[in-house]
Amino acid sequence: MVKEQANWSPYDNNGGSCVAIAGADYCVIAADTRMSTGYNILTRDYSKICQLADKCVMASSGFQADVNALKKNLYAKHLIYQHQHNKQMSCPAMAQLLSNTLYYKRFFPYYSFNVLGGLDSEGKGCVFTYDAVGSYERVGYSSQGSGSTLIMPFLDNQLKSPSPLLLPAQDAVTPLSEVEAVELVKTVFASAAERDIFTGDKLEIVVLGASGIRREYMDLRKD
């Protein structure tokens, strides 16, 4: 008597890569705009980045239907917070909220690999990186998605900063300027698009600074 196997999976992987880099007073969040399923490209113009609060931007790769549900959930919780506290959520607070929201679905996870970027309450850049069920960590830079195994080693090489666990503590923020960080992101995605089939088409870059939010686009390989 053979055990019945499910012939339908509720999950799919729409591919793509995301990167975030934290600076002294800025944060760069970037993601490609290709959405695929299997070997097919569904669209070349899909934004994986969403602004959750004034100083908080999330980029997610994985299953975009789950990402959209997660986004809706976070927007709603943020709205309630704003009604109750009469202010926007700070990035570290949103980071904890995202972690809990992901863990509430521990037994039926959101197939979403997230990277949260923004400015903390002191105005310094912060990046939080997550796994699919909500374990998170504040870091100086991070990448998630199909190209992350290609991108991370390069970022480690260029940006590796002392671990926050060292004692005496050393700052985990990149010594790069905003312009250098954006150039680095462009380089990194151009390389990832060369060797990852799910990354390409266009790169969307969002820069959060003290003066506000700025968006930039760059073309990537379309093959």
């Binding site: 499910a6 109750q84 037994f107 197939y111 870091v139």
Partner: protein
Amino acid sequence: MKLDTSGFESFSTQIEPLDGIVGDFSAAPAFELPNSTDFDGFQKEAIQMVKPAKGTTTLAFIFKEGVMVAADSRASMGGYISSQSVKKIIEINPYMLGTMAGGAADCQFWHRNLGVKCRLHELANKRRISVTGASKLLANILYSYRGMGLSVGTMIAGWDETGPGLYYVDSEGGRLKGTRFSVGSGSPYAYGVLDSGYRFDMSIEEAAELARRSIYHATFRDGASGGVASVYYVGPNGWKKLTGDDVGELHYHYNPVTPNTVEQEMAEAPGV
């Protein structure tokens, strides 16, 4: 056994709905379970997809002056190192620590939840919770989720009215009181160094050095352990982080490289 979802009770003030529209987010959400015919198989697949961070070395031991807790900081997903700076020693409250081994999200979430429960106990009973009590709270929650795929191998270390306390709690529902524990893929290596160097009447410096060495040796031999070796001490006034050293640098600290003399190098070059 009924699922203990008290961990998910919302403690925020409930806003009374004016006209009957229910604010779903103020009610405590229970864990959503998938409508699948094969819950077990689905969980196995979900876990594979999620691939919780496994592979670690954590240890804790009681000695004359209190409790020493140490851990590495590597998180691996299969063969990929997803992070070298994971905080595996979780500060539940100023006098209690928990260690993380197994699923990172599981450990982070339930330790935070335990911190909340401990604080509520303090407020309700006007005294701190004991290490025995805290570990029992955690063990009971984990037992109620037994078989559902949580992966938690933790040690609760603290100082309460009865002195230093150390318990091992895992997601199978096990809870053990003891004086020396090591958990994770690197634990056999850590035990080797820890057991041979342990004495009850060590000073704090000696104990910290023993803990640090044990983690270093485990990271040396176990591929799934690495990063930064953190050592914490729990005493009558609470916990204090003592050291945090990169294990790569520790290697050369314990095995210094003696440079070759110039004459030797010249002698190796073949004459023309």
